[in-house]
């Protein structure tokens, strides 16, 4: 009996609907699909969540003495145990900074073939074929996972278009308590510090206003924040701007930063390197202001202004303010 399991990050159940997207992908691959998630508290699983459209929901309960959040090692061993116990032959996870460090090790332990950061997955008989961006997105690799092994794949968030509908009937929930070894407790999480920026969440904002190295310093980001306030948008940045210390790395968009898919992505002084576009190319409308007419970002933009942001931005903000105030 073939069994696909979708693994969900602790605390990510309610967050952004990406579960329904990856679930629709899992279901499209045929075979029975289950969802496995980590929870120390069953009460938090609202009734709505039990209606994820799959055959089973497994709640992996770890002893609270293992810590919260759970360390990578505890999660990896739990998943290794789960995959063996439930004879999972395909594991799917969203590619996040959480799964990045977990999926390859789970694959290694269950001797599975592993496909990382896929934007497309198809089943062809017993084989799974995937497409994944490589070289920072400058190329696409077409890969296939061998027939006779189990398989693990991570999926780039938002690369699946249609979400799975929720089920009409409740889905059975099974609790599991995996075995954890002493060596899984070698790395301890001493402290977790989160700094949530004010304004709408970058991942969910309908308008994202991003600045790059072309802005030349930290002050212009204050202007972008002003614009974001008027438009109820969120501010983002290229890695070059973050590395320069002009804005915190929490605002970084791209391959090693956040992925955003707003209705409008408005960029100032960003060249559009493929590693940056990896985080924003799913935006519905990209609008770019850049002084270089050959900047790569114009290739992905719907509207563009070739010009100096020093002059374009203040006039743009003033005009936007007027237009928004008119309403």
């Amino acid at each position: 009996m073939s069994h696909t399991a979708v693994i969900i990050e602790e605390g990510q159940l309610n967050s952004d609907g990406s579960i329904d997207h990856i679930l629709s992908l899992a279901n499209s691959l045929g075979h029975e699909t289950s969802v496995a998630l980590f929870s120390s508290d069953n009460a938090k699983l609202s009734d709505k969540l039990t209606r994820l459209d799959c055959s089973q929901i497994y709640v992996i309960k770890n002893d609270t003495s293992y810590g919260s959040p759970l360390s990578d090692e505890v999660i990896i061993s739990s998943l290794e145990w789960f995959c063996k116990e439930k004879s999972v032959d395909l594991v799917l996870m969203n590619k996040t900074s959480w799964s990045l460090n977990i999926a390859p090790r789970v694959a290694f332990r269950i001797k599975a073939s592993y496909a990382h950061d896929c934007i497309d997955i198809k089943r062809q008989g017993a084989e799974i074929s995937c497409i994944r961006p490589v070289y920072g997105g400058n190329a696409l690799a077409h890969i296939s996972l061998a027939k006779n092994t189990s398989k693990v794949a991570t999926i780039r968030v938002r690369s699946v278009q249609t979400p799975q509908k929720r089920s009409d009937t409740p889905i059975p929930i099974t609790e599991l308590e995996p075995e954890i070894k002493d060596e899984d407790l070698r790395v301890k999480i001493i402290k977790t510090v989160t700094q949530i920026p004010e304004g709408p969440d970058l991942g969910k904002a309908e308008i994202v206003i991003a600045g790059g190295r072309g802005l030349g310093g930290p002050e212009p980001f204050e202007k972008l924040k002003e614009l974001a306030k008027i438009l109820d948008g969120a501010v983002g940045a290229s890695r070059a701007a973050c590395d320069a210390g002009w804005i915190d790395h929490n605002f970084q968009i791209g391959l090693t930063g956040k992925t955003v898919t707003p209705n409008m992505y408005l960029s100032f002084g960003i060249s559009g390197a493929s590693q940056h576009m990896a985080g924003c190319s799913g935006s519905r409308n990209i609008v770019s202001i850049n002084s270089d007419k050959n900047a790569n970002i114009f290739k992905d933009s719907k509207y563009g202004v070739i010009g100096d942001w020093n002059l374009v931005l203040p006039a743009f903000i003033a005009a936007v303010r007027e237009l928004v105030d008119e309403n």
Partner: protein, 263 residues
């Protein structure tokens, strides 16, 4: 205290899109202009992290790489920054290895040279952006694995790292020996010094070849077959908004966005 840093040479990721061509035989990208490779950026961050520890302790820093066709200027850069030794696991057998096999080769070589107290790796190599090798290496060596460090502190046998997470950081702790992956948030790598460059010139890397390692490479393949590479296409036609001057362009853009219902 012995620190080992795993490094890899890669195509310059700053190459413009049009500068890449696909080599159909090896199913890999090459530089159209034959531009020289660079040291993977995150590996420079890892070297920097090692050197910061060396700055305050009497640590010895060894860099190690698996591959073929090494460009010596690239591989010796860590020495010119202040690292002590360079080990190259070199040979045509080691060309285009998959990450699982690479980790096995590194594991085998590290066991031969002697397990260090601390292994540092880049968070990912900017060729396939995998971030697999360090994780699998930690599995093979059965080491505590701490990922995405933006800061590392050592207190005798205890290592603490600040790990980058979305919207913040975590403090992780483990006992040595351990393996740590380093992210760019650690900060700019230092420049080579004059003395370092002279040391690099004099340095003879320790070379290990296939026959020095008792290893059957085919055993470790991860059953992933790359069938082809392609270059993604973008289909957008950009409409440029142009006023008489930049200020007017800014105003016209606002009006355009309003008409398009975007603001």
């Amino acid at each position: 205290m012995n620190i080992m840093v795993c490094i890899k040479q890669v195509l310059d990721p700053e190459t413009p899109v049009s500068g890449f061509v696909i080599d159909e035989d090896s199913i890999s990208l090459t530089s159209r202009l034959g531009a020289p490779p660079v040291l993977n950026g995150f590996d420079e961050n890892a070297v920097e992290a090692a050197l910061r520890i060396k700055d305050t302790t009497n640590a010895k820093v060894t860099v190690i790489s698996v591959g073929n066709d090494f460009v010596m200027d690239v591989m010796k850069k860590p020495i010119s920054m202040g690292a002590d030794n360079l080990v190259l696991i070199q040979g045509s057998e080691f060309e285009n290895l998959d990450p699982f096999t690479t980790a096995h080769v590194l594991c085998c070589a590290i066991k031969k040279i002697g397990l260090p107290d601390l292994i540092l790796c880049g968070r990912q190599a900017s060729d396939w952006d995998n971030s697999h090798v360090p994780l699998i290496l930690a599995e093979l060596l059965n080491l505590a694995c701490l990922t995405l460090a933006q800061d590392i502190t050592l207190d005798s046998n205890i290592i603490n790292i600040e790990r980058v997470i979305p919207n913040g950081y975590q403090i992780l702790e483990a006992s040595l020996p351990a393996l740590v992956t380093v992210s760019n948030e650690l900060g700019e790598p230092r420049y080579p010094t004059l003395r370092g460059i002279m040391n690099a010139g004099k340095n003879h890397p320790q070379i290990l070849s296939y026959n020095d390692l008792d290893i059957a490479l085919d055993d470790y393949k991860n059953n992933v077959i790359t069938t082809k590479l392609s270059i993604p296409e973008s289909a957008q036609d950009c409409e440029f908004i142009q006023g008489d001057d930049d200020e007017e362009s800014g105003r016209l853009l606002a009006i355009k966005l309003r008409q398009a219902g975007l603001i």
